[in-house]
Symmetry: C2
Subunit: 340 residues, 2 copies
DNA sequence: CTGAAAGCGCTTACAG
DNA sequence: CTGAAAGCGCTTACAG
């Protein structure tokens, strides 16, 4: 192996403890001793062995971020923020892709008991609140997403119902009379689709508008495109569509445009997530932007509390902020730079 | 802490060594002993402490995947494959975002010496071959990307010159007479832009076509859009553009469409990377698809060799395969499903 | 086939 | 302010 504390101690003519003190920046080391040790440290180019330190300290310095998949833009963007936030706590982040499988989600949770990671930030898909409650005795865990609210672990999410209501109201406020909701799913009451549908329903009811919905299996461009095609095929197609995420909206946009209709003139479109793609689509996409940095920071801080403080009180439900970002897909081109 | 080998040994009435043998699946354990041990193991729900095992074994079970950023779709998609490939070697993957900073790249490389990770898969931006050679004495390292060829470490990439030639030839073969290259940069001879420009130059020269180029600072949609605007503003604009990656191409597409021109009728567009976005843009995007799974698998295997085998011979230069995927942005709609 | 013991490198009471 | 020693949990020669 490499250079150990013992090697440094030998060279500096002090004890291992003293070297450890210097390395860890403890006070109460005489200037002379410190100088000797620091000289030896640099002379030998000492690097602490993190495996040893972690064994001693009973931690790993690693946390897991478990997502269904990494490549949907929303998850990739969120991951970036989580990695940054974790670095601030001297944690490195292992990305675990669960593919939404129950078995994989269980494995990730086991990572804590295997001393593989100090804690887990999980965006659950398959695992239920009951099983979670049963298996996370001492597992530091923070939940993300819309799957489990008021569950057995800390949870951070935006206010989905309010966000959905706001987008729908924006659409209605533009004078649209047939505002559809695209992305309905047969999920539990606290699922993403259910919450966004609830917010949509509140808004259309308040405006006395009809309720139009299109269901999907997955939140992908392809499903968004197909669902939009079904909406357009109806006798009275919508003049605005609130898509439950940006990917669906981008797929829907493709369908609208390729059927010769215009966005937003014929159909206004809005999504959720504020992924980068929507800023560069033609037209650019109106969306709900969750504060991803805040989401990430909060999740990491909650995890830090659990790791440091043991059990530490009942699970916390935290709301992160969001804002409506209005772009061309609902209000038309503003000052789009017209090339040539 | 939790349950240790010693606790299991006590309960089973055997030595720690024997429990370790059973846990690690060594042969030569009598059936009776094995049964006793396994009973105790499950009774106590034993979990090996990976920190301890790693300290003893001198490894961490973690590798780093260091990329400039995670959210460009190409990197997100590639990461997913790397994580899968690494799992096959019982490695978990820490994603390190370097932001292209030299300091961050150095830190990541230090991770090996800190016993934080067993090895690093790095897509370098700032660090040069010379510095790399100087600092990677015993660091297991595999390079990705186009920045460093024939450097001091193993390297995997597709054949960029050939790929660029193939796309350009596809464009020329369609009868386009003014094929531009979008994405030129002032980078070293082995940089992405230089290699793709070389392939492009070979092809246009072979077809007796003029050489038209547009430079960019970064490979983003925004820069692609801006560079395309400059090309369209020229007296004789191109009728086809080979964009050095898909993001640039998607940006360019936005510019072409919003200036009232058609893709591919007026301007054919092609990119590189085969990111998912290009499969759902309007029109869908012709591109060079690197075999990302092969890239990832090869990188992980090379790393495994270095970690297991010590130095193990001179650096290897490996080519991963790619293929041209022809879509609407060069040949027009084929059987696009026309809704309603 | 199984056991007793050493040691990986670190941190931390406990003395002095 | 500094040192000698124990111990985190594991694996591995070395015996028997």
């Amino acid at each position: 192996m490499g250079v150990s504390l013992r090697d440094v101690a030998l060279l500096a003519g002090v004890s291992v403890k003293t070297v450890s003190n210097v390395v860890n920046g403890y006070a109460h080391v005489s200037a002379a001793t410190r100088a000797k040790v620091e000289y030896a440290l640099s002379q030998l180019d000492y690097r602490p062995n993190l495996s040893a330190r972690n064994l001693r300290l009973g931690r790993t310095g690693v946390i897991a971020l478990a997502l269904p998949e990494l490549d949907p833009p929303y998850f990739a963007e969120l991951s970036r923020f989580v990695i940054h936030a974790a670095a601030g706590h001297r944690w490195i982040v292992v990305i675990e892709q669960t593919d939404g499988s129950l078995e994989r989600e269980r494995q990730v949770l086991d990572g804590v008991r295997d001393h593989r990671v100090d804690g887990v930030i999980l965006s659950p898909v398959a695992i239920g609140a009951e099983e979670l409650a049963a298996r996370i005795d001492d597992t530091a865990l923070v939940l993300l997403g819309e799957r489990i609210y008021d569950g057995p672990a800390d949870h951070v999410a935006i206010d989905n119902v309010r966000a959905a209501r706001e987008v729908t109201e924006h659409l209605a406020g533009l004078g649209r009379r047939r505002v559809a909701a695209l992305g309905v799913q047969d999920d539990p009451a606290t699922g993403t689709a259910a919450l966004r549908l609830a917010g949509y329903a509140e808004a259309v009811a308040a405006h006395g508008l009809p309720r139009l919905t299109a269901a999907v299996e997955r939140y992908s461009r392809a499903e968004g495109a197909a669902a939009m095609a079904r909406l357009l095929a109806e006798p009275e197609p919508p003049d605005a569509v609130f898509c439950f995420n940006d990917l669906l909206a981008l797929g829907a946009m493709r369908t609208v445009l390729s059927s010769g209709l215009r966005v937003p003139e014929d159909v206004a479109l809005a999504g959720v997530d504020d992924i980068e793609d929507g800023r560069f689509s033609t037209p650019t996409l109106t969306t709900v932007a969750p504060d991803k940095a805040e989401l990430a920071r909060t999740a990491v801080e909650l995890l830090r509390r659990r790791v440091d403080g043991g059990p530490g009180g009942p699970p916390r439900e935290v709301r992160a902020s969001h804002r409506l970002v209005v772009r061309e897909s609902t209000v038309g081109p503003a000052q789009t730079p017209s090339p040539a």
